[in-house]
Subunit: 414 residues, 2 copies
């Protein structure tokens, strides 16, 4: 690599990093996918990960896609849905092409509701569907049955509606909440405990002013918001917007998406457009919940690692020591792993700070060339999907090096 190429790369990464960290996401509303997500048709279904031929979607992710088709009444039976997807009569598309980060299976259909996050300066938007709540079976985790359908109707109906009404009062700036939450022990992927409370504190004036006429709905919403994963969807939408802001910078070697399907992990790089660099899924260090065993685990995809893409999750582990059992590491090891990631990132986050590291900014913006150079790969905090259509645990996952090597090669050959 010549000096001038290196300078070009550095400058490009600086721009990408500046765009990512400069983005100021605000939660502006809740809308139906078909109304607010550009390019979505009534027969489009989104799912997590770099796209695969239909035949290669298996287990929970396949179930969820078919479930999505049934939920949307695009098909009358699983068999019919299967045939229609295979025939392209139902369009299966990757979440990332729609700025809709997928949680686990990541199924979005046109009648679902999504959180809308916007950057005031650029007017750009990103989205995320809503957490399915305390109900055990979840489409997100690959389950579909009458209970799942009714629960989806409730979440996409009553819950989305009252939340949307409260957001109509005005946007909620997310950076201040996320910044404070990281000081309070969240890494905003596997842990959103502080952010959940801070969010309610932030919308408290609206809750109070609307309670007179919306008592029942607000009581339901508050019950729903007790689940810490509700805020994860907000964190994902915000992270997606920040990651998208860093896209398309010529010569930049910075990662702008990390995603999983049931089969593969894949990344996209700012200077390499829409190309996916893929590898088989790696192993996870798991903490399984309750009575679950490893036999209950079944990979089903996931794009919540959009949080890691912008310096959260595994990149902020040392801010979230209460997660120690979930990420299978002692606090000193969490610190060590977190510090290591500075060697593969473009910069230190100007807004997400790690108290234990004397408020050093989280390592942000993975540089594929640095990954190749150091052989250190990103660390992800993830939820573990089970065969039974629920979350069966939490884990930390170290990405394989192949996609980073392939992306670095592609950059050099440009």
């Amino acid at each position: 690599v010549s000096d001038s190429n290196e300078q070009t790369r550095e400058l490009a990464n600086k721009i990408a990093f500046g765009n990512m960290t400069g983005c100021q996401p605000a939660l502006v509303g809740v809308g139906k996918v078909r109304d607010v997500v550009p390019g979505m048709h009534s027969n489009t279904i989104l799912t997590s990960g770099a796209p695969l031929p239909w035949s290669e979607y298996s287990g929970g992710q396949r179930n969820a896609i078919i479930g999505g088709a049934l939920y949307e009444r695009l098909a009358a039976s699983a068999q019919e849905a299967d045939r229609m997807i295979a025939a392209g009569e139902i369009q299966l598309r990757p979440c990332q092409d729609y700025s809709c980060p997928g949680s686990i299976t990541g199924v979005y259909t046109s009648s679902m509701s999504v959180l809308v996050v916007e950057d005031h300066t650029t007017g750009k938007k990103a989205f995320c569907n809503l957490y399915e709540g305390a109900f055990k079976d979840k489409l997100t985790y690959g389950a579909y049955n009458d209970g799942v359908r009714k629960n989806l109707d409730h979440i996409n109906g009553a819950i989305a509606s009252i939340l949307g009404e409260l957001l109509d009062v005005g946007p909620v700036d997310l950076k201040p909440i996320m910044r404070s939450a990281v000081h309070l022990g969240d890494e905003l992927h596997s842990r959103n405990t502080a952010a959940s409370v801070l969010f309610i504190r932030e919308i408290l004036p609206r809750l109070l002013s609307h309670y007179g006429k919306r008592k029942k709905e607000i009581d339901l919403l508050l019950e729903y918001l007790k689940e810490q994963y509700c805020f994860l969807r907000i964190s994902m939408a915000a992270s997606q917007l920040m990651a998208d802001a860093a896209k398309g910078i010529d010569h930049s070697s910075m990662v702008v998406a990390i995603v999983m399907s049931c089969k593969e992990v894949a990344i996209r790089v700012s200077g390499l457009g829409d190309i996916w660099f893929r590898a088989p899924l790696p192993e996870m260090d798991m903490k399984l919940f309750g009575e679950y065993t490893r036999d209950d685990v079944l990979y089903a995809g996931g794009e919540s690692c959009i949080c890691e893409t912008v310096g959260l999750g595994g990149f902020a582990q040392a801010a979230a020591f209460p997660l120690q059992s979930w990420v299978c590491a002692s606090p000193p090891d969490m610190v060590k792993r977190n510090e290591e990631l500075y060697a593969i990132t473009v910069g230190e986050n100007p807004e997400f700070h790690i108290p234990f590291l004397e408020f050093r900014g989280t390592p942000t913006g993975v540089d594929v060339e640095k990954v190749v150079e150091t052989t250190i790969t990103p660390l992800l905090d993830v939820g573990v999907p089970g065969k039974d259509g629920n979350q069966v645990g939490a884990a930390s996952m170290r990405l394989p090096s192949e996609p980073f090597q392939a992306a670095a090669d592609a950059l050099l050959s440009m």
Copy 2:
């Protein structure tokens, strides 16, 4: 020390520790000092620390006591108040004898409002007056003027009244809030950031149900509760109740109060009744706010270290890394200092856990004999009072060994 004496001591400390940690404080109401604090007369004024002759109260603490007399209209002028206190016409009493922990100067007068905290099992109560809020001059810090008086009227009036009304709905259990807050980076002395938000989350249903008829008052209360030191008063009342629960166990060498006046630090020990063991005030490692310099600092007493007495504050520093600049220590040093305190405490707190130490309970219940043995003395997180009647900084303070030595000697001579 004979084996049997040692066994007696151990058993006594075990009982004291069990009483302290078993205590379950609930915030049950707000009341006027004269109505709810047993033994308080209209001409009684409480102040922080082991009692001194009137002539030895100086600076901010003297000003605050005189200010308290004027606020209560016990005297028409500072000169008259001075004379009446000297003559015993105004009774000056130590806060600790009334279960009313004193913040800095610790002035309580009969018409002030206090938070009432109660242990359901024993029916015992402790109290704390309310934080004076964002107003710069504070009686707490030794200021008294028209502004201070008006602000005290507001806090003891409107704020106390609406908070009391909300508490009339039912008690608020404090241990769950305090326990969660310690997981979220509070040590509940110098840092109450998480607890402040958790408290609002806890009383949210009452805020919502009362808002229709109390909009103005609730808006005022919520503005007031933005100050993180508001929760410190709740934490102090709860800590006082826990410390009081451990009092009066024959042969116990466990500390049940750590207090300061403008002149001295002093402790009380469970097996030694109401005796004060005193020493001159030690130096502090300070973080001064804004433009303040060391010339602006003036000791004015303080009993918020009742929190340290029960395993919070300096005994939970490693749970609160965001405090690093306030306690003048790097996070690894905060860990080291916190770990050291296990050598001088009776046990590990069953409810306050330090995430970084793999959720080990905070070192709780200082044993004066262990202090003498190890020469390690308690570490306090404190606020720094200034000559101008405001908080000018935060600090950590290491107690001198003399009171512990004197208490240990007293125990042996029994």
